[in-house]
Symmetry: C2
């Protein structure tokens, strides 16, 4: 962190007052120093560096990630070993005469990759593909790095050979002459312009007009096209999807990291800001953080952040294990069916968690911002920009609603498999105990016994079992009515969404409780409170499900509500140490309201003065002077009749 | 609207690409044309004009409103007739050598007006007040118009006469020489700088260093200070608060208006955008709006918008009636107690609704933005800026959480009065039927009968009665434990908040149902569906309360859920006519995705190209060329040992 902070290129405290153009230029400037680190430190160190960069400067992180994450990732997933070597040799590995971008989405097509319109037609005579944008809606859109940075693009287009369509494949297409950055023939590129956030990245649009590339520029790890136009498709298309999940997995962890940053600001500010005098405090105003309602605003969010952090770690592990098995499967020494099962689970889990966590993180940022009152609206507090930068995570790498539905689909499917007696993977294992769970009610001798991870886990399993079953029954009723599978899934989409949402709540709590159970001593004592707070708060938020499915009775739900109040107070007592434990430096937090020393007003005032030096009045002479020193009664002439004598009605 | 659209100053389609400095200057430029209209058209016409301006250009609306709303409003509320005449004569009415601002909030003090630190000490010898900023946190902060516009400020400061404090009063203080705009002696002003939104307004900070003003510059409609320092305080301080509610009342209506704009964009886009092919449509992709899940995303928001529009009208009427009675009361020919009752009700209702509606509107804007997928992240879609501009409404004129708690306090108070047999005003009249409601369950012969405004109204009254009573009981228990009133209210703040939230849901539905009942024919047929959708959707969202208080059974709640699905589909069939009925022109909507002609891609592409003309590469030579054409292996020297021979271990 210190290195970043000392690097003048990574100066962040003036970030709110520079233009999009300056921001883009500065963002490009950082490439060189980051490349130096990439080439001179271990992968682990570099990953840690990038994870800090991602919360310090998400725009740069994205821009750098377009080449090394998306473009190189596309090569790794889709190129044969020989092709990979070729492009690395050509400069893709070290940015030598080469910067890549990732051209998947189109103006008219986002989530539906098979529906992309761009065509890649094989010309056998020339042994080339012809890339072409046939319509306006086929224009490649949102392509990060296209406007100003990239020399090459990984283009997703419809493979057409001898008139036959083979679906969307990936092609490397040169866009610019690396010597001059002039566009190559047939390439039209424009700037997407201003965005909600992450303006440091130069998103662009691209149109291809009959652009010819050698046959070898189609990445042929999976589907192969021979010299004579023979197309060989892979047997197990599924196995190619693994790498695509990486982004989603990262975003689960990211949600925890951005929430940490937002809460560091809001909680530190609330520990300093005083408002309204208590009647017995000699006129000294009360700290925001000492108000029960302010604890209610922030402590559940803090608990949720811990839940996301534990889940992010678990999700990353699950992904890494899956990927290592997947590699084994490709090499042939793994149980293929088991690996596919694992892939499905990782796919559905990461889809659901990406959606769930990014939505919650976005909401946490906004709630933190609002909890800072008026100062939350100042750009210098940093939470507004954080919101704007983060918001895209709810859309990219899969629209959150669509991803949640994918998890819902997996749940319905798992439910049906469980009915057929199949042993499910752990995350949905509760569906194997359906009969038991459907008749389970909370059994406690006294209300206090509800304050237990086991009870909460059981409660979530019960409501999840009910809601998944309900979606499953609805789905099967649709099939019985003669709908096809896709229509049936569409028809029960609301139930799917609801089941997936409940499942994710339960999943996060389970991960959190598991994580806490591995700690001990003082750490355990505080984390278990945070964990219970998360569990009970999320039950309160979904009280309808717990009452409808009769896991809890109304008095038990009332107990849950009052316990959340009590736990908020208890967690508040540890809130500052918990935030300090996030260990984000003032540089990373980049907000005067979140300063570790608590001297928020002085830092805030300094920042505002430094960022807005006073000079000449910018437009007094041109605008204000003529306005307020104008002759009176302008506009309509005062003597409206222009000399005309008025006729009296009385005459 | 046409006038605005034709006024080149009100050009809005380049708004996303101009700098804060340009935006501020352009915003100031509009003053003159608006002033012309103010002076040459009826109040009604001008109000309509401003209500359109508010959704076209909220930054300008705020800046203009600072003078005519806040400053002139402060005069009207606090000045004696003679003082009012003096300041109008001096130029405050027509902006002659005069622009006012409203200096209430301080760096360390927002919601707690009695806690402001700025002092106004009476100097009897000189017959002057000395305005002073004693600390950093006393710096006037967020003052709209202070940075570049205002000549005078209405300053709220602690009145101190002969050493005794009399609380916060309002003083007019000259800030700048209107001829030169030089700051006057003792005045220090700075620019607050970049904000989340509304950058067209020049918020500033102000510090006073022993600034002397004549005694007559204290506005003395209520509290009077004589030549010898005799302070005469008003008998009924309460009666002075009426005018302060205007802003909140406006924001209830505003929430409906901004929601209309957001939904016009999201629904029109969803009617054009196609995604994923249905299996029986020959590969033609399905419109987003035809997906049940997309209907679920947008139709309840449309219903909520109608609820806010009906409620906004009702709230405005309530306010106007209250104000006319208040004027009567001041003149002495009104039942004073009745008027105070009315004032209390209007105060609490407007506080609760301001919070409820601005929160929901902000959420609607964001949900609309996300429903546009990736394109929602483009600035040109307009929803990002709309969010950023609107967000402040959740904080200014009373932080939403605090306002919601005020409504909660009123509800507890009403509950206790009802127990003592008092007849309550209509909005909380259900608390007079507490015993009956606490034992009411939904009585229907068949589930279909739930689809009735009467049942929904009753249901809301039941859950509100329960939740208010619960908060009331908690409050009284605190009193019995010996807490003072303020502590008792703090202690039960979560129950207050919850009761107030439920009350607001019920209140909106009631207003909506009342409004619809006055329509007939086709209009009734469609609006009743929208109304039922809002009612059932809001029940679904609060299913926990309806189940906990046993108004509905679990099967009835399931019926509510499935009915929401059905109603979404029915309202979707009328969604385009409903949006067209909002009658917002393309100019007002200012989003290519919301174009009435449905030709969204062409307009969007045009906008992006127009806003981002291609020129020379801005930084190829400086940054990219040296990066990608660099010598290889920079950084650590390749020959790290610098000629040193390696010692072999084997020697």
């Amino acid at each position: 962190m210190l290195e970043l902070e000392r690097d003048s290129l990574f100066k962040m405290d003036d970030i709110h007052d520079i233009s999009k153009e300056e921001l883009r230029e500065r963002t490009m400037e950082k490439f060189r120093s980051m490349l130096y680190h990439l080439q001179n430190e271990s992968v682990e160190t570099f990953k840690r560096r990038m994870s800090i960069v991602s919360i310090v400067d998400p725009g740069f992180w994205t821009r750098f990630g377009v080449h090394y994450g998306l473009f190189v990732g596309a090569l790794q997933s889709n190129a044969t070993p020989g092709q990979l070597g070729y492009w690395f040799e050509k400069g893709a590995l070290g940015l030598n005469h080469f910067i890549g971008c990732f051209a998947m989405t189109e103006l008219g097509h986002g989530s539906n990759v098979p529906g992309l319109e761009t065509t890649a037609i094989f010309d056998e005579a020339a042994d080339q593909f012809i890339l072409h944008t046939p319509t306006l809606t086929a224009t490649k859109w949102w392509i990060g790095g296209a406007a100003h940075s990239a020399t090459h693009a990984a283009v997703f287009a419809q493979l057409i050979v001898h008139g036959k369509r083979y679906g969307t494949k990936c092609f490397v297409v040169a866009l610019r002459d690396p010597k001059t950055y002039q566009l190559l023939p047939g390439i039209t590129i424009g700037d997407i312009g201003k965005k909600m956030g992450r303006d440091g990245i130069d998103n662009g649009w691209i149109q291809f007009t009959h652009v010819r590339i050698p046959r070898g520029h189609m990445l042929q790890k999976h589907t192969k096209v021979s010299r004579t136009g023979q197309v060989k498709e892979p047997k197990l298309q599924q196995l190619t999807y693994g790498a695509l999940l990486q982004g989603r997995v990262t975003m689960v962890a990211d949600s925890g990291h951005f929430s940490k940053k937002a809460l560091s600001i809001a909680i530190r500010y609330a520990a300093v800001r005083r408002q309204f005098a208590s009647s017995h405090a000699n006129g000294i105003e009360t700290k925001l953080l000492d108000y029960p309602i302010h604890q209610r605003r922030l402590m559940p969010l803090l608990a949720q952040t811990f839940a996301m952090l534990f889940t992010g770690t678990e999700m990353t592990d699950m992904y890494n294990i899956m990927m290592s098995h997947l590699d084994g499967a490709k090499e042939g020494d793994e149980d293929l069916e088991g690996v596919i099962e694992m892939l499905k689970e990782t796919h559905a889990t990461s889809a659901g968690l990406k959606a769930f966590c990014t939505w919650h993180c976005l909401s946490i940022i906004e709630q933190c911002r609002q909890s800072c009152g008026g100062h939350g609206y100042s750009a210098y507090t940093g939470l507004a920009q954080m919101y704007q930068d983060f918001a895209v995570q709810c859309t990219w790498e899969g629209d959150n609603t669509i991803l949640t539905l994918q998890l819902g689909r997996y749940l319905i499917n798992s439910y049906r498999e469980a009915l057929r007696g199949k042993q499910l993977s752990p995350g949905v294992g509760y569906l194997n105990r359906l009969d038991e769970l459907l008749h389970t009610q909370c059994q406690v001798n006294q209300l206090e016994d509800i304050l237990s991870p086991e009870i909460i886990i059981e409660g979530w399993q019960v409501v999840c079992a009910h809601s998944v079953r309900k979606a499953g029954i609805e789905f099967e009723a649709c099939l019985e009515q003669g709908m096809d599978i896709d229509d049936a899934y569409e028809h029960c989409s609301q139930s799917r969404l609801y089941a997936a949402k409940l499942h994710s709540f339960g999943y996060l709590f389970h991960r959190f409780a598991d994580g806490v159970s591995k700690t001990s001593g003082d750490l355990y004592d505080i984390l278990i409170k945070v964990c219970l707070l998360y569990g009970l708060y999320s039950i309160e938020e979904n009280a309808g499900a717990f009452l409808e499915y009769q896991y809890f009775t109304p008095p038990q739900i009332e107990f849950v509500r009052s316990s959340v109040n009590r736990l908020c107070k208890q967690v508040r007592d540890q809130a500052i140490p918990l935030v300090d434990a996030f260990n984000l430096s003032d540089y990373v937090i980049n907000s005067p309201l979140g300063r570790r020393d608590g001297n928020v007003y002085v830092h805030y005032f300094d920042q505002v003065k430094r960022s807005n030096p006073q000079g000449q009045h910018p437009y007094f002479d041109r605008l204000i002077k003529p306005l307020i020193q104008r002759e009176m009664n302008e506009g309509l002439d005062e003597d409206e009749q222009a000399g005309l004598e008025s006729e009296s009605d009385e005459e």
